[in-house]
């Protein structure tokens, strides 16, 4: 399995099989796409605040172009930002390091999955430039709008959209199998499944959920492409097909997908939380079981996206029940995080601030989801900005707050240095403030009845009073984008100017801190062994307030509780 360090530039930095290089490739591609997705957010928010005006940097947006902007904003943020950064980027960087492996189980397959993903990125960007414009059927791509050319006027834009998403699924299927195999099979001696860091657990469950949920949508996407290109009628009522079939296939994947993104984010937070509260995680096994049960439940909630879609109304009750019940494992999970802070010794770093803010904000997203989950309330709330605000209050903390937390925390393992904390605090304060400024007004707009994906709310009398809120929200998104400037500068400048980090700058316990920063090719100087659970912070008695997983026990000093409590 071992492979020597490659010499040439191309093998080392471009077609590399090293999981850390591939992780950086995923992350940087994802961050680049985040800028694109952010620009689209700016474009659509500007149109909503000042309909019909020329937008700085883009000009006037025509109504069909607005649909493309909305569609591609959603698609890119979910499939080309969240997935590559959270699942593939952090997964690639951390899973092998945390289990003490020298690389992924299948390094060449790993490289292949990145380049398939890269190809999908090219395809989705290319879709902006084809005649007829980019896909405009929403990120959910419901047929018949997406299923025929004449319904939307978009031909190649939609075909390329389907192709790009399909390629992306293939990339993450291969990548997911690799991550699962690595996490389960490549653990160092001494590391049982119950000694895995939470991040690895959550990444594993996320990858498994993705792998099992995406299949039906792959079949569904093939049918959509056949409908468009060859005139089959899978979704055409005139041919005996049913548009709702696609919705089922889409949301059978689409809802679990939310958890595919959420779980790695929670994993990142778990690591950061323990390291900076200097405290072991509260209820390790309880958390793992809550994640497993949430993963299982996620397969039986999908139709809550379809309460008013024409679904048999009798199905609303069972899906409403499962939906509201899935709040329970996540409540347990968040309560465990909060309980971890009890009697802690909290070090406020930028990474910790993002994690704590993620908890605080995600709860807003979580509780507002209960309103959507009630079928009766959903009659009013469905397809309004209330839903938009709700899922941004879940997804922005997941995708951005957790990612930032992880980047500030593991930057040493990426580039060997620390990021600048001062700039980091500016970044945090700006992001936190402007995020809330962007989305709180949208809750109010949603309650006014503002429906989604309209290019000009002013033509509706009942929305005219909301124009002030629209402007506020748009100022928020502009501020949110501006707040990323110090981060982008910090990210690149710290590669050369950052303070050298050393092996374990945060005095953390998991295996990635056993090796140099950045880890060399092959990761560890010598084979590692896990001697205890992942979070032995502040064990009873005197001595240092952390005992790493990789530190051999010094017979006399080792408190018994340290091993047995987390491992049993």
């Amino acid at each position: 399995m071992s492979h020597g360090e490659p010499e040439s530039f191309v093998r080392k930095y471009i077609f590399s099989v090293d999981h850390k290089v591939i992780a950086k490739q995923y992350m940087i591609t994802g961050l680049f796409m985040a800028l694109l997705g952010g620009f689209l957010a700016y474009a659509l928010r500007s149109q909503l605040a000042w309909p019909g005006d020329s937008i700085v940097g883009l000009g006037v947006i025509a109504p069909h172009a607005y649909n493309s902007v909305v569609t591609l904003h959603g698609t890119i943020m979910v499939f080309w930002v969240a997935m590559p950064i959270l699942v593939a980027g952090f997964g690639n960087l951390l899973v092998p390091l945390m289990v003490g492996a020298e690389d992924m189980a299948f390094p060449r397959l790993n490289m292949l999955s990145y380049w398939v993903f890269f190809l999908s990125t090219i395809v989705i960007i290319a879709s902006f430039f084809v005649p007829g414009g980019a896909a405009g059927g929403g990120w959910t791509a419901y047929p018949p709008l997406s299923g025929t050319v004449h319904a939307s006027g978009v031909n190649w834009g939609m075909n390329l959209w389907i192709l790009a998403v399909a390629l992306e699924f293939v990339a993450f299927l291969i990548g997911g199998i690799n991550i699962i195999t690595t996490g389960i099979n490549m653990r160092v001696p001494g590391m049982s499944m119950w000694d895995l860091p939470l991040f690895v657990w959550e990444e594993l469950i996320a990858s498994i959920v993705f792998l099992l949920a995406v299949g039906p949508l792959i079949a569904g996407a093939v049918m959509l492409l056949l409908d468009r290109s060859f005139g089959t009628g899978f979704y055409a009522p005139s041919a005996g097909g049913d548009p709702l079939l696609f919705q089922h296939l889409f949301w059978f994947f689409g809802h679990p997908e939310v958890y595919v993104l959420l779980l790695p984010a929670l994993g990142i937070m778990g690591e950061v939380l323990c390291a900076f509260s200097r405290k072991t995680i509260f209820g390790y096994r309880t958390i793992v079981w809550s994640v497993i049960s949430a993963g299982l439940l996620s397969f039986v909630v999908w139709a809550h996206h379809q309460f008013v879609s024409g679904l048999d109304p009798r199905l609303a009750f069972p899906f409403s029940v499962t939906t509201i019940l899935i709040s329970v494992p996540f409540a347990v999970h968040l309560f465990a995080f909060i309980a971890t802070l009890y009697k802690a010794s909290i070090r406020f770093t930028v990474a910790m601030a993002f994690t704590l803010a993620m908890i605080a904000l995600f709860m807003i997203g979580g509780v507002t989801g209960v309103i959507n989950g009630s079928a009766a309330a959903d009659i009013f709330i469905h397809d309004t900005y209330f839903v938009v605000a709700h899922f941004h209050y879940t997804l922005v903390p997941i995708v951005f707050f957790a990612t930032f937390s992880g980047i500030y925390f593991w930057y040493p393992k990426l580039f060997g240095r620390l990021m600048n904390e001062g700039l980091g605090w500016v970044h945090f304060a700006g992001t936190f403030f402007f995020f809330n400024l962007t989305f709180i007004p949208q809750f109010a707009l949603g309650l006014m009845g503002h429906h989604r994906r309209i290019a000009n709310p002013q033509i509706f009398e009942f929305l005219r009073d909301g124009q002030g809120l629209q402007v506020l929200s748009t100022i928020g998104v502009i501020g949110l984008l501006a707040a990323q400037v110090p981060f982008v500068y910090n990210f690149f400048a710290s590669m050369v100017r950052g303070k050298p980090a050393g092996r374990n700058p945060w005095e953390a316990t998991t295996l990635e801190w056993a090796t140099a920063s950045p880890p060399p090719h092959g990761n560890f100087d010598e084979p590692q062994t896990a001697y205890r659970g992942p979070y032995v912070y502040s064990p009873p008695g005197e001595g240092p307030d952390w005992i790493p997983q990789f530190e051999p026990p010094a017979e006399a000093l080792e408190p018994d509780t340290a091993i047995s409590e987390t491992a049993s």
Binding site: I177, L211, L212, G215, G220, F230, T232, L245
Partner: protein, 193 residues
């Protein structure tokens, strides 16, 4: 362990399952999800269309039945190939894999005959939704057969050279899945009326 010299020793893993076997299990799980989604979609749509029974009667049951036998027999050849690897008879394993490939070719030839016959009779993928599903599902399955054959030719060559003998098991498991999927497709598309 008399054959340890020629049999590839899998890397030691935490679960004692070789990485390749674990990965192929998860890969098969994702394949099951794809075909499972397709089959469930087909069944649900069909429940609303009792008239599909009549369309299904235009499929060639005999050809489908023969193909079922062909695939089952080919699966036996793969099992024997795996057994031969365990016994260290790599040459034999390689030949058995090529036998499987030959059965795959027979399957595709019969399938091609069916398609030709059906297209000539005027049943194209856009005739109606039943035929759309028929061509989509058998076509996707056929692509999996082709993929399996290509993989088996590659593995057959490397096994002959004494390399990657563990891969025989992987292609074998994949081939069983292709077989099992067919066992679901045959009654659903040909027989049910």
């Amino acid at each position: 362990m008399t054959n340890s010299a020629i049999i590839e020793q899998p890397m030691e893993t935490a679960t004692e399952l070789p990485n390749s076997r674990m990965a192929i299990w998860w890969f098969l799980a994702s394949e099951v999800a794809i075909f499972g989604g397709l089959i469930v979609a087909y069944v649900l749509v069909r429940l609303h269309h009792p008239e599909w029974g009549e369309y299904a009667s235009h499929t060639i049951n005999a050809a489908g039945a023969i193909n079922t036998m062909v695939l089952l027999t080919s699966s036996l050849a793969v099992v024997l190939a795996h057994q031969a690897v365990e016994e260290g008879k790599l040459e034999k394993a390689s030949k058995l894999l090529l036998t499987t490939v030959a059965f795959g070719l027979v399957f595709l030839a019969i399938k091609a005959y069916e398609y030709t016959h059906e297209l000539h009779a005027g049943f194209t993928p856009v005739t109606n939704l039943f035929w759309s599903f028929y061509y989509l599902m058998t076509g996707l399955h056929g692509l999996h057969v082709v993929g399996g054959m290509i993989a088996m030719i590659a593995v057959s060559r490397s096994v002959r050279r004494g390399e990657h003998s563990a891969r025989v098991e992987c292609v074998g498991m994949y081939w069983h899945l292709v077989d099992i999927v067919w066992i679901f497709l045959f009654p659903l598309l040909y027989l049910a009326s």
